[in-house]
Symmetry: C2
């Protein structure tokens, strides 16, 4: 049985859940409670020395870390429906949109960073929120400009089927909403997110639908 | 002519330079001075609304952003020598090692973040350095554990030829050295970096060798 070690509110686990659902793959979920620090427990460190989620264990016993690497692996092993376009330029565009979220926005706003801001830098709630919203605004402004301005954008981030870019976008929007970021300026991002959320694969991957949702 | 818009000290541009050199591709370099803020000038924003480097313009006029997406594109269009292994598990491992650097370490330590720490959060030099070194230590500890503990590690991060993982590792080590991080605990990282640096493709991609090096 394919097993996903994750956490309901982890953006990175959320991406993998969407990919598994889109591929129609059965999987078990084992929650790792990030707020309780379970990612640093021995059992999780044995699975992933980085002490992060998600980790995917395939039914062949292969253990994989890093959400984008996991999604590309799933796409290679289970090609339908494809999470990447058929052409090299399209693949580069989709990967660059996914990485705009995964390498530029999300790393600055995840739990371990917010903890550092509060515990090490002694930031108060307002300063922490300002940090969070700053990186959302900077990243989403750029992403909106690309999505609104590039001809390859369709119903989804790239064309008319969901890709790796949508898998990254939707969890990031969920997080931005949680931190009450103003999303009014990003009409293309909102339109695409709404469309994604109307699909069962995305809806069933939402944090509130997971077994460990508080 | 393939053109790389970059900056000599940008880790992300450095990754792309190594990929271009490994592939033996000719390219022109156009420097975008990040310290002077040229990435926010109109000319660069027209190339990339995110206002970042690198951007690669191919001789067919295709314009690509995000260093890992660019490297995978180059690997698909110019398959030899391969930057990814032939098997899906190997590709997932290499991508996850690359993303450990590109999604977990580098985003927290790049110039725009350090500027926010100084200008918005009013951190002094010591606190900024502590931030920098904290994320290097956390990331490199995990990376070292993986590289030292996993059988697939070879002369390089994965086997005995350079991959996307080495392309990310070497620029990150360069940056860690610049900020005088203690690299003594990471013997596998140091061994692999030294081996990479002995190759012409890596040596010629080094920041100090670029036309815009100060």
């Amino acid at each position: 049985m394919t097993t996903l070690y994750g956490y309901f509110r982890s953006s990175a686990a959320y991406r993998v859940r969407i990919a598994l659902n889109l591929k129609g793959l059965d999987y078990a979920q084992v929650p790792v409670n990030l707020v309780k620090g379970e990612q640093r427990f021995d059992a999780n460190l044995a699975r992933n020395p980085q002490g992060l989620v998600p980790v995917l264990e395939t039914d062949e016993g292969v253990r994989l870390a890093q959400s984008l690497a996991i999604c590309e692996y799933l796409d290679e092993r289970h090609p339908e429906p494809a999470l990447l376009p058929a052409d090299a330029e399209g693949r580069a565009r989709v990967r660059s949109l996914a990485q705009l979220v995964a390498c530029e926005i999300h790393p600055l706003n995840n739990l371990k960073v917010l903890k550092y801001l509060v515990h090490e830098l002694k930031l108060d709630d307002d300063a922490k929120l300002a940090w969070y919203r700053h990186w959302i605004a900077e990243g989403f402004t750029a992403l909106e400009a690309r999505l609104a301005g590039e001809a390859a954008t369709g119903v989804f981030c790239h064309g008319d089927t969901p890709t790796l870019a949508d898998l990254c976008l939707v969890p990031q929007v969920f997080n931005a909403e949680r931190f009450e970021c103003d999303l009014a300026p990003y009409s293309t991002i909102r339109r695409i997110t709404e469309r994604c959320r109307s699909l069962k694969a995305f809806a069933e991957a939402a944090p509130g639908e997971q077994p460990d949702a508080g």
